[in-house]
């Protein structure tokens, strides 16, 4: 079985940071909600019932070829900081991190598949792929579903489809989403217009970091809302088309900015590089927004392309639980900002002299 420390050391295979694959769409994610027939849903089940379901499903999951030698834990076996790290890696949900006995997660070695047991539903099968690969992500999650369905009796109805704890997930039980980096649309003030259009297509949009309408780091998630009345293929096709369109708008906005406001764009990227490379106290909000500018600069040839992977990794590792786990001790929030600044400085020092040269040359 994979240890927590191994999982931490190995970046997930979807964190590839390949600029050609992920200039705008960072990741695609599909999750399938499934429940067993003979036990109440986790929110209504008694502890004993939850534990029985957990034991049975965990065993079947670990036996699946695709999950071989993966990470498998009951949440009660993990420390709070470890649970938070899994949340920050999108391997479990915030809601599930609050649970303990009779609830857990099985993750494959590549961290491309993660199955939450006894979250809101008995099973939440999740697959993550880099770039815009919703169909591939669906097939990956479906491979776990098919592997389990001959062994576990899933609650499914010919008319209503898969029965879920919340009726908003009925039918396919599928929520598909993509994470997009949209600094071009934000800086050209086109973001609200585009997001409204996405909403009109019956899709949901939200900022990934930050509260309410604020989106830190210009990162957005687009997902389907309806799960009943259309096939998985229809949902994925519409979603892929809309996300593909948004990615094109974003690329156009970036090119227009580089052409018409080149000096302004270089100024933003250069200032972000200056702050990240020289600050000693850095809040997560500041880090996310500056890293967003460096990532943008890397896709526009202002800083080396390899900076895309560095940015994506720093966005992940500058989160509170990652900082605390990597520091190996309990840290206070103010101390966190110091550690964050230090980690970013250290990561960037090697790449930055070259980066700043690139900015000069692109002037």
């Amino acid at each position: 079985m994979m240890r927590f420390s191994t999982l931490m050391k190995k970046p997930a295979d979807w964190m590839s940071g390949d600029v050609h694959q992920t200039p705008v769409v960072l990741t695609s994610r599909v999750r399938l909600a499934r429940n067993v027939t003979d036990s109440p849903f986790p929110g209504w089940a008694k502890k004993r019932e939850r534990q029985l379901v957990f034991g049975a499903i965990r065993g079947e999951l670990e036996a699946l070829g695709v999950m071989k030698d993966g990470f498998s834990h009951e949440l009660s076996e993990l420390e709070t900081v470890q649970k938070q790290v899994l949340v920050e890696r999108h391997l479990i949900s915030r809601e599930q991190a609050a649970r303990s006995e009779g609830s857990g997660a099985v993750v494959n070695r590549k961290q491309s598949l993660s199955v939450m047991i006894n979250e809101e539903d008995h099973l939440r099968i999740q697959a993550i792929r880099p770039g815009l690969e919703l169909q591939e992500a669906f097939e990956l999650s479906q491979s776990v579903n098919r592997g389990l369905e001959s062994k576990v009796d899933f609650a499914v109805d010919g008319t209503l489809g898969y029965l879920t704890a919340c009726p908003t997930n009925l039918g396919t039980g599928m929520r598909a989403s993509a994470m997009l980096h949209l600094p071009g649309l934000v800086l050209s003030d086109l973001i609200n217009q585009v997001l409204k259009g996405v909403n009109k297509m019956g899709l949901a949009v939200r900022g990934i970091y930050g509260e309410g309408t604020e989106s830190l780091g210009n990162l957005y998630q687009i997902s389907n809302q309806s799960t009943l009345g259309e096939s998985e293929e229809e949902i994925l096709e519409r979603l892929s088309k809309v996300i593909g369109d948004v990615a094109v708008y974003e690329q156009q906005a970036r090119e227009k900015m580089a052409k018409e406001d080149g000096i302004l764009l270089k100024d933003r990227v250069g200032r972000a590089a200056g702050v990240l490379g020289n600050a000693y106290v850095m809040t997560s909000k500041e880090a996310l927004n500056h890293l967003s500018m460096i990532r943008l600069g890397a896709t526009q040839g202002m800083v080396p392309e390899s900076m895309v992977a560095v940015c994506d990794r720093l966005v992940m590792e500058s989160q509170p639980a990652h900082l605390q786990w990597n520091s190996g001790k309990k840290i206070e929030p103010e101390e966190r900002d110091v550690l964050r600044a230090q980690m970013i400085r250290e990561h960037l020092q090697s790449s930055f002299p070259a980066a700043i040269d690139d900015i000069d040359q692109s002037l």
Partner: protein, 169 residues
């Protein structure tokens, strides 16, 4: 839960969908009988029932139903469902089916699953589609007084249903 017209225990749950507006009320059996709700053919027009004068009956679908107060499998109640919007177990979907049917249109693109199903259920679903088509033919045959065809159709349907029970999940 008490009846909307008197103080008796309510046993009939009535949902009216007209012009996209959903109206719900609950009645005891006596009041429901007086209103003609337990007999769909004897329904008053929605307008009359709501006490707002005659309504345009053609514009509305009236779904009279009785809904369970509690899921017999897991003990989750209709009140629980109304409060938290979630079900207690898979069987709750039968117990609170009518309440659910009312909520689905605002959540989803359709009311019927179109996606992936395990093989056993797929067969069952195909069979049901076949039976439904034949039943429609049967009704048409009866209407056109073609009793010979109707008898044949009836036998085929019965056979299919029998076979389906043996082979289904």
């Amino acid at each position: 839960m008490k009846c909307d017209s008197c103080q008796e225990k309510a046993t009939v749950f009535y949902t009216q969908i007209a012009d996209g507006q959903v109206k719900k009320f609950v009645l005891c059996e006596k009041c429901a009988n007086e209103q003609g709700i337990t007999n769909p053919d004897g329904l008053l027009s929605p307008g009359e029932l709501m006490g707002v004068g005659a309504g345009a009956e053609g514009d509305s679908d009236v779904l009279p139903f009785e809904s369970a107060e509690e899921c017999s499998a897991c003990g989750f109640t209709l009140e629980d469902f109304r409060k938290i919007g979630r079900m207690g177990c898979a069987r709750c979907y039968e117990a609170f089916g009518s309440e659910l049917a009312m909520r689905l249109p605002s959540m989803h693109k359709g009311m019927v699953h179109q996606g992936y199903l395990p093989e056993g259920l797929l067969k069952e679903q195909a069979l049901r589609g076949k039976v439904e088509a034949l039943e429609k033919e049967l009704r048409e045959a009866v209407e056109s007084e073609d009793y010979e065809a109707a008898a044949g159709l009836r036998d085929t349907i019965q056979e299919l249903k029998k076979g389906g029970k043996g082979g289904g999940k």
